[in-house]
């Protein structure tokens, strides 16, 4: 399916996509994980993760992208991301208040610091990444009802 020359764009685009799509995904994950240290965070990183899948879809055609992340999987992951964010917020009740940052804060500028904020970023990253991809997928595969 991937090597089918009839779907998707030309060989040049496909080769370049093969090389870059992993890097784009990795960059998105980096942005998500470093959200509490540098500009970016869950939303920006999630958008980049979604763009890597959109990139795949543009180059290879929609079937390849759907075989990686189907619509149902995207929808389920989106709900899981939202529930994860909510349960992180609910964890604060253990310390006495909704959204309370109960985890140890650590030292600033370390990757493992800032308590629940990196966890929130991961949850938002999952939600935004698959959510945006699901929106794109829905707009692409609208069937003509004639």
């Amino acid at each position: 399916m991937i090597d089918n020359p009839k779907t998707g764009m030309t060989l040049i685009v496909k080769t370049i996509t093969r090389l870059t799509v992993g890097l784009i995904l990795l960059f998105g994950i980096y942005i998500i994980l470093h959200g509490h240290l540098s500009p970016g965070g869950g939303f920006a990183g999630g958008v980049i993760v979604a763009l890597s899948f959109v990139h795949l879809m543009l180059a290879f055609g929609k079937d390849v992208a759907i075989s990686k992340v189907s619509k149902n999987l995207a929808s389920n992951l989106e709900s899981i991301g939202a529930l994860m964010f909510l349960s992180i917020a609910l964890l604060g009740f253990l310390g006495g208040s909704f959204f309370l940052n109960i985890l140890p804060k650590g030292t600033p500028f370390n990757l493992f610091s800032a308590g629940i904020i990196p966890l929130c970023n991961i949850a938002i990253g999952i939600k935004v990444g698959v959510g945006l991809f699901a929106i794109f997928l829905t707009l692409v595969i609208v069937e003509k009802s004639k």
Partner: protein, 112 residues
């Protein structure tokens, strides 16, 4: 002050698009322009003269930061705008399927 007026003009361009255009897609584009004008306006309100980006960095003590709050709020507003735009576009696609046109003067099954 000029910048604020330019924002207002951009907003009015968007509003003109929403109110006067007959094509559904142009209306959606007008809505997008309006949203971006208001986001730009809000970010500009947080600007301080000679201000720097509001990022705390190691070994640096920045005093003249711009106001970070409008930027955070505008991010939220952009996300909301994204959701609304995606929803309206999908509705517009379905309308095209049903009516076979994007012309708003021909889409009038509802009256009264």
């Amino acid at each position: 002050m000029t910048l604020y007026f330019l924002c207002l003009m951009l907003f009015c361009v968007g509003l003109y698009g929403v109110l006067r255009k007959r094509n559904l897609v142009k209306i959606i584009v007008g809505l997008g322009i309006m949203e971006y004008a208001m986001n730009l306006f809000f970010v500009l309100l947080g600007y301080r003269f000679d201000g720097r980006a509001p990022i705390v960095a190691r070994d640096q003590n920045i005093l003249n930061m711009v106001d970070p709050l409008p930027q955070a709020l505008v991010l939220t507003s952009i996300v909301i705008g994204l959701a609304v735009t995606a929803l309206i576009i999908s509705i517009a696609i379905r309308i095209y399927e049903k009516y076979g046109t994007f012309d708003i003067t021909k889409i009038k099954k509802l009256k009264g």
